[in-house]
């Protein structure tokens, strides 16, 4: 079960709970890979992966020690931290959030700017919404997400939020090729990541380190392999996911470089860039979404990460350059 103070089990391993951000799906593939192939076990961890369902209060669950790790986005983490929810980002499994806007041809949408004046189905609480409205001056009429594609298919002018790795697949099967606009291209660019509570990180640095290494390894292997082991398990946990769908999703993860990132831009699997986070913090500040000051050094466990992964964090030894780090051996 979840450990307030991660305690070694009889096996000598530490039991921890990782709560995902939805039902089991390939977007969590790396973590499952680490779990299924014994990566976590070798790292001395006994991980339980718990589906996050539709829940809205996962940050609170982490902060109060009900679970040890959870998945979320960096923007939300910063907002939460500013409201006194002490969370620490530990491992970004996606360099960019797969959150997108998809539109049908009839909507006349080809860029984010062309959303101006349109009605879009989006989660109204998404920080992105504010960014589009306030920072980019795009006037949006919002309709809340209903987790259904019925209206998208019924209405050729419909526009809605989606995961680039998921909904387009189902829409495509109905013979519709949607226009997909990545929200990360808006300039408001979040990491999607695993995080833990400040207290947990402070008292279990070894566990966190081990988790980061094992997770990164899991992701690397998942994306590098055929994903069969993971997909088999995912199909058991969430039988609605066909092999075809999961293969498609995995391909999308690779094609969009969501996890691996763009090496040329200094991105790599599992890396936090201080400058990017700083920019996001400033953006959130400008959007008036922060209640108090947030110190990036407190909000991200850079000191527990392999040096190549924590780029530009002032408290650490500076990493010379992205290119150099790429060849580095800080990774197990």
């Amino acid at each position: 079960g979840p450990a307030d103070d991660a305690a070694p089990e009889a096996s000598g391993r530490t039991a921890v709970v990782l709560q995902t951000d939805w039902y089991p799906q390939p977007e969590h593939g790396g973590y499952y890979h680490a779990l299924l192939t014994g990566g976590y076990e070798r790292a001395g961890l006994d991980v339980e992966i718990r589906p996050g369902a539709n829940m809205t209060n996962i940050p609170q669950l982490v902060a109060t020690g009900r679970v040890d790790f959870a998945l979320g986005t960096s923007d939300n983490l910063l907002v939460a931290a500013s409201r006194g929810i002490p969370l620490v980002g530990v491992f970004p499994h996606f360099q960019h959030d797969p959150q997108c806007i998809m539109a049908r041809e009839g909507a006349g949408v080809d860029t984010l700017q062309s959303l101006d004046g349109k009605t879009v189905m989006m989660n109204p609480g998404l920080p992105h919404v504010r960014f589009l409205q306030r920072s980019l001056g795009i006037r949006l009429q919002l309709v809340p997400m209903d987790f259904s594609l019925t209206r998208f298919l019924s209405d050729p002018t419909f526009i809605q939020q989606c995961f680039v790795t998921s909904e387009p697949y189902y829409v495509g099967r109905q013979g519709i090729e949607p226009t997909v606009l990545r929200l990360s291209d808006s300039g408001f660019d979040s990491y999607r990541m695993a995080y833990a509570s400040a207290a947990f990180v402070a008292s279990n640095p070894d566990v966190v380190s081990a988790f980061i290494r094992a997770s990164r390894d899991g992701w690397e292997r998942y994306l590098g392999g055929d994903g069969a082991t993971v997909h088999e398990r995912l199909a058991e946990l969430n039988p609605q996911q066909t092999p075809d769908f999961m293969a498609w999703t995995k391909r999308a993860l690779v094609d969009y470089e969501l996890a691996q990132g763009d090496a040329e831009a200094g991105e790599m699997l599992g890396r936090f860039r201080h400058d990017r986070l700083e920019r996001q913090l400033a953006q959130l500040e400008a959007l008036d979404m922060l209640d108090g000051p947030v110190a990036l050094s407190d909000a991200f466990a850079a000191h527990l990460m392999p040096p190549t992964l924590a780029q530009g964090f002032p408290a650490l030894l500076p990493v010379a350059s992205a290119a150099e780090a790429d060849g580095g051996d800080g990774i197990p």
């Binding site: 809205t56 939460a80 929810i85 109204p124 009429q141 809340p144 209903d146 259904s148």
Partner: protein, 278 residues
Amino acid sequence: MTSLGDRGRGWTSALKRHAAGWGVAGWPLLVGALITASWYGGIVAFGIPEYQLPPPHRIVEAGLQEREVLLTGAMQTAQASLIGFLISVAGGLVLSILLASSRWAYQGIYPYVLLLKMTPIIVVAPIVILWAGQGLASITVITFLVCFFPIVANTTMGLRSADANLLDLFSVYKAKGWQQLLWLRAPGALPYFMTGLRVAAALTPIGALYGDTVAGMGSGADAGLGFVVLIFSAQFKVPALFAAAFAACVIGFLFVGFVNVFAWWVLHKWHDAYVAVD
């Protein structure tokens, strides 16, 4: 339970005694104070952080701070609630009358009324929105779907519970179906109807708020309370979230209060529960 004593006393004197004692507002305030005290007590004793359960004063603060958003949201939701409630009452009454009108209607229709009630809104919502369009109309329909059943169940039971002797009386005088319904079953069903109304009234703002979260529309700040709740929740504004919930409750209280006054006004002359002193 009931105080021994004169049940025939006029309501004016009952009101006077009410006003004289703790009655009208004292007890709720006392209980409220107790709850608030244990709220603070709990927060201190268990060290509950604000993001888990904010202390009351923080909720008030956040409520004041966000008052504009809350006010427009509450107005929106109140409007949807009101329309949804009225439609629920009207629709519920029509359905109840239909159901009580004959054994065949009851056995034939009731299962499908239940089916309608029991189909998860999340499944029906997209269809509703397709037909009624995004916004108030759909929210109203969803509110209706959430609220109408207590009215139907209660009113139907009330209509079917007519006193057998009075039914005999009506049939002696060859009352037509509608006369029996209007002058015997309906007045006799009032206590049941009022109970259904009270449940529906309490459900209404929830229904409207929920409807807003699935069928609402807005740019963020100009929407109903459902939107507001979604935004506050997604942005971890916990005290503000509680303030929004409280705003929804206020709407509900207004509805329930209105129903109570209405029930008293209709029933106090003859119904035991209202004639009685307590």
